[in-house]
């Protein structure tokens, strides 16, 4: 049942993005004064792709940095950086992305860069915390066996610790991706090409249909990405015997 709904959602999204005009009837009820029902200034498909691209690049960067930090602070040499890393990633999450945009524009100018920076900072915390939990909560007898078997520190990290922490790390990336997907809409206030453009246009021209279709596409993307990640997590977890059956 859940699968069927997801497939239906995916199908709807693809069809809608391929030919938004065919769905005009669906959004007509939200329109007053004979305004257009579908946003056409920029293609919805191209906005969606650019939105996904921004999120993808930002999440990738957050992942590299957060996982790297997680590894660093769990090594004996890097342990002293743990409080610092915690502070930095928490600030990244608590500092409002809008404020980051406002601060970044004078330095980076308008366009995609300020949005990338805001999303990157916003996405660090969940990945970092999950990496940390994954790397520090290994079954003690497994770490003991790895040491006793003569694996070097690096071999233990690559062959044992990271694979076992993988489901948790993936969960962190999933959270970041979903948060970023919604947050990226504000990028349009500083001229990044995102689905926020549709929503903002709707707000400015009091066209509820625009707001609804922008929100709908973002929402569907978030659900699909969430589910895809979860499926991947379950598969990794099952492979290491954590989630049976």
């Amino acid at each position: 049942m859940a699968r069927l709904l997801l497939a239906a959602a995916a199908l709807f999204l693809v069809l809608f993005l391929a030919s938004p005009e065919s769905f005009a009837g669906l959004f007509r009820p939200f329109v007053t004064n004979n305004a257009p029902a579908i946003y056409t200034q920029t293609g919805l498909l191209s906005l969606t792709l650019s939105h996904l691209g921004l999120v993808g690049v930002a999440v990738l960067a957050s992942t590299v940095v957060a996982v790297g930090l997680g590894i660093l602070v769990t090594r004996p040499a890097g342990r002293e950086f743990l409080p610092l890393a915690r502070t930095v990633t928490s600030i990244g999450q608590t500092f409002p992305p809008v404020a980051v945009l406002a601060l970044a524009v004078p330095i980076l100018g308008f366009g995609a860069w300020p949005t990338l920076v805001a999303l990157f900072l916003y996405g660090l915390l969940p990945i970092f915390e999950n990496t940390l939990t994954g790397l520090t909560n290994l079954p003690p007898e497994v770490s003991e066996a790895a040491r006793g078997m003569g694996l070097t520190r690096r071999q233990r990290l690559v062959q044992v610790e990271l694979p076992l922490a993988m489901p948790l790390i993936l969960a962190g990336i999933r959270l970041s991706a979903v948060i970023s997907l919604a947050t990226a809409t504000i990028g349009s206030t500083v001229a990044a090409k995102t689905l926020g453009e549709v929503i903002i246009a709707g707000l400015l021209s009091s066209n509820t249909a625009y707001v609804v279709q922008g929100g709908l596409v973002v929402g569907l993307l978030a659900i699909l990405i969430y589910e895809a990640f979860q499926a991947l997590e379950t598969r990794t977890a099952r492979r290491i015997g954590l989630a049976r059956r």
């Binding site: 497994v142 040491r147 006793g148 078997m149 003569g150 076992l164 492979r239 015997g241």
Partner: protein, 309 residues
């Protein structure tokens, strides 16, 4: 040969292993027994330097282990831990292949070795090679843990209560198998247990530990007949001593010429089994498979040695 010299471990101001010295000859089994917290695991872990000694040293074939890089040392020493510690994300074959892979054996050699070990532990390679650890029973997991420890043909094998999770029947079988395998491979083995019965069944030497000190180190017969301290006596269990002593000797070793009726007893059975059979069947002598008899009198006088001491 492994020589432990004045080995000591101090945590804060508690001494958990205190000046322990003992030697295990090549190909022998030394069983460390003692109550919980007596320092057995700590002593064992100092041998492969999972715990660094506070003082004292360990020599393996005359070589001071503190001079060998820890990871290189550990690849030479098989280690089976309390609660198996299999890597949950790796198949049975990959788990067993851990150390050979670290030592860069060829793939063909590794594969042959994995199959050989699985056969040895009576787990059909075709059936078990590609299973994941969670798809095994507790007993199978422990056997794979031991196979993994043996994989690179280590000169020395350390085992920390490897049979702790097994039920008594499978446990006795596992001990027998381990002993056979150890004899066949000629591996030197140090095994930790808090079960005197297991120590007697397996050990060529028994080391009794209490509060970090080595109270007695000697062959089972000596530990049973001449307990060096009240604690050792207590650990053996006063009432159990005659039976433990009987379990050390095989029927074939004391069989004498004569005739007796009824079912025969295998020459490899222990005197303890023979006594049980005599009492159970109400006979005063049993015919031994392959000739000769063993009498109740013989068994009684053997058992009496425990109380003479």
């Amino acid at each position: 040969m492994i020589e432990i010299q004045n080995l000591t471990k101090i945590y804060g101001d508690t001494t958990v292993v205190d000046q322990v010295s003992m030697t295990v000859e090549t190909g022998q089994i030394a069983a460390l027994v003692g109550t919980s917290g007596s320092g057995k695991t700590t002593l064992l872990r100092m041998i492969n330097r999972l715990v660094e000694p506070s003082s004292g040293k360990v020599l393996i074939d005359g070589e001071d282990t503190s001079r060998i890089p820890a990871h290189a040392l550990r690849r030479r020493i098989g280690y089976a831990i309390q609660g198996h510690g299999l890597f949950p994300h790796r198949s049975v074959a990959q788990n067993i292949a851990t150390v050979p892979a670290l030592l860069k054996w060829s793939e063909a050699d590794i594969r042959a070795r994995v199959d050989e070990l699985l056969e040895l532990f009576q787990m059909s390679p075709a059936q078990f090679r590609d299973r994941m650890p969670y798809e095994l029973s507790g007993g199978q997991q422990q056997r794979v843990g031991v196979a993994r420890a043996l994989a690179a043909r280590p000169e020395l094998l350390l085992m920390d209560e490897p049979f702790g999770a097994l039920d008594p029947v499978i446990r006795a079988k596992a001990q027998q198998d381990l002993r056979d395998i150890q004899r066949r491979l000629g591996t030197t083995l140090v095994i930790v247990t808090h079960d005197m019965e297991e120590a007697v069944a397996l050990g060529d030497r028994i080391a009794v530990m209490d509060k970090g000190e080595l109270l007695q180190y000697g062959p089972p017969s000596e530990v049973l007949t001449q307990p060096a301290a009240p604690f050792v006596r207590e650990l053996i269990g006063e009432g159990e001593r005659p039976f433990r002593l009987l379990s050390l000797t095989r029927v074939g070793d004391i069989a004498k010429t004569g005739e007796a009726g009824g079912e025969t007893i295998p020459a490899g059975a222990s005197l303890r089994d023979a006594l049980a059979e005599c009492l159970w069947s109400g006979r005063s002598a049993l015919p031994v498979e392959g000739g000769g008899v063993v009498t109740l009198d013989q068994l009684e006088s053997r058992a009496a040695q425990a109380s003479v001491a």
